[in-house]
Symmetry: C2
Subunit: 246 residues, 2 copies
């Protein structure tokens, strides 16, 4: 593993085999990083997708609880108690849904967005600059070949000067694109640490916030409601066992 | 809406049009309840499915964070910090995964199971007994018709006695099946209140437990870790803006 941490811009003009070899190491690293980033993004999108599905599922559940009232049961005696209890549960589910939606939004903004931006901006930039650098290198090679094929006769001085100018232009262009490419590869090495950690920071903070708000919301407030529903369920269960109501 | 709350078993033998009409009200109610229960079960299964998917998604994310180390990056300089940070995040995700799995199990046991049992036991029993009652009623009608078609001549006394016995048997059978059917319909009216509330009690308790454990787990313990990661991310971000490291 090479111990260098950046491509030196001053080496770009000379474009030596050593520099090219070091460049290929940086390119390989960028390739591995692109692949890993795509896999990480996929895993994060799965978490985000599950969170979103939870929002939709709790929405549907809350609606379904309210729908009990609208069923027009042929026998409605004693239903007021069921209806009001399900209404209360529906409110609980709604409050949970608010927390779930907030978490989903937070995951989108602080987990998914940063890693997508890293992919779309940093990784795509490196790949675009690689293409441009490749084109400029080919162009330079072509003009060099053209120059070396020129006949050595004197009457061609004018044409020779033109080709030499072409070579110089191609070299300038290649140099410029290599500078940009090196810069982007160096920046990627630096950016990758943040790019890997930032989304997980967002994820963890989102979860902490979710738990904190959830614990506050559900602390003691529901105790008496749940105890009374639980008593009701228990009472009915016992009646059924002893058959006292049938 | 009738104000009765049960079918009287003593009316079953006489099987009057009034009793039949009341029975049809109970049957309509059971039909509405079956439909509503299926929709509620569907909504609850969606919540459970989302919770399960969250378990799988967090598992995959944790694995993917650990996989960074095994990527064999061509340039590994400075990666120790990224690797150890991602390891730590992976542990956090694992702990969250434990909570998610526990919640999923709790939802399965205390929300999905009771409502499935209500459907498979109570609702299916009513529907089976309805079929048996229908069969017994048809049988009774057939034997009654047979008896009424008997010629009134004296030499048929023996055959007549046989058919009369058949009618009596059919009536006993119908009476018995109506008693069972009435009982099941009465029990359903009673059970439905518990059946609607019990799963939501399980759901809400599962959530409360989840938030409580989550809030405990993430309270202060992560603060210093997150602050140091956050500082790192911030520092890198500033360096990038000023270009001091490139």
């Amino acid at each position: 593993m090479p111990t260098v941490d950046k491509l030196l811009l001053e080496e770009a003009l000379q474009d030596s085999p050593q520099t090219r070899s070091l460049l290929s190491v940086f390119e390989e690293d960028a390739g591995t990083l692109t692949e890993y980033t795509n896999q990480l993004l996929q895993a994060m999108q799965r978490v985000y997708g599950a969170q979103n599905e939870m929002c939709l599922a709790t929405q549907q559940l809350s609606k379904q609880l309210l729908a009990y009232e609208k069923q027009h049961f042929a026998l409605g005696k004693g239903d007021e108690e069921v209806i009001s209890t399900l209404h209360y549960f529906s409110k609980v589910v709604d409050e949970l849904n608010v927390l779930h939606s907030e978490l989903a939004k937070q995951l989108a903004d602080t987990m998914i967005l940063p890693i997508i931006q890293f992919r779309e901006k940093d990784l795509t930039e490196v790949s675009t600059l690689k293409d441009l650098f490749g084109l400029a290198s080919t162009e330079h090679d072509v003009s060099m070949a053209k120059y070396s094929r020129l006949p050595k006769r004197k009457e061609n001085e004018k044409h020779k000067a033109e080709v030499a100018k072409e070579v110089a232009n191609a070299r300038r262009k290649q140099h410029l694109s290599s500078l940009q490419y090196y810069c982007a590869l160096n920046a990627l090495q630096y950016r990758k640490r943040v790019a890997m950690m930032e989304p997980m920071l967002g994820y963890t903070r989102g979860q902490i916030n979710f738990f904190k708000k959830g614990a506050e919301m559900f602390s003691k407030r529901l105790d008496s409601f749940l105890t009374s529903v639980s008593d009701m369920v228990q009472r009915h269960g016992e009646d059924l066992t002893t058959g006292s109501s049938l």
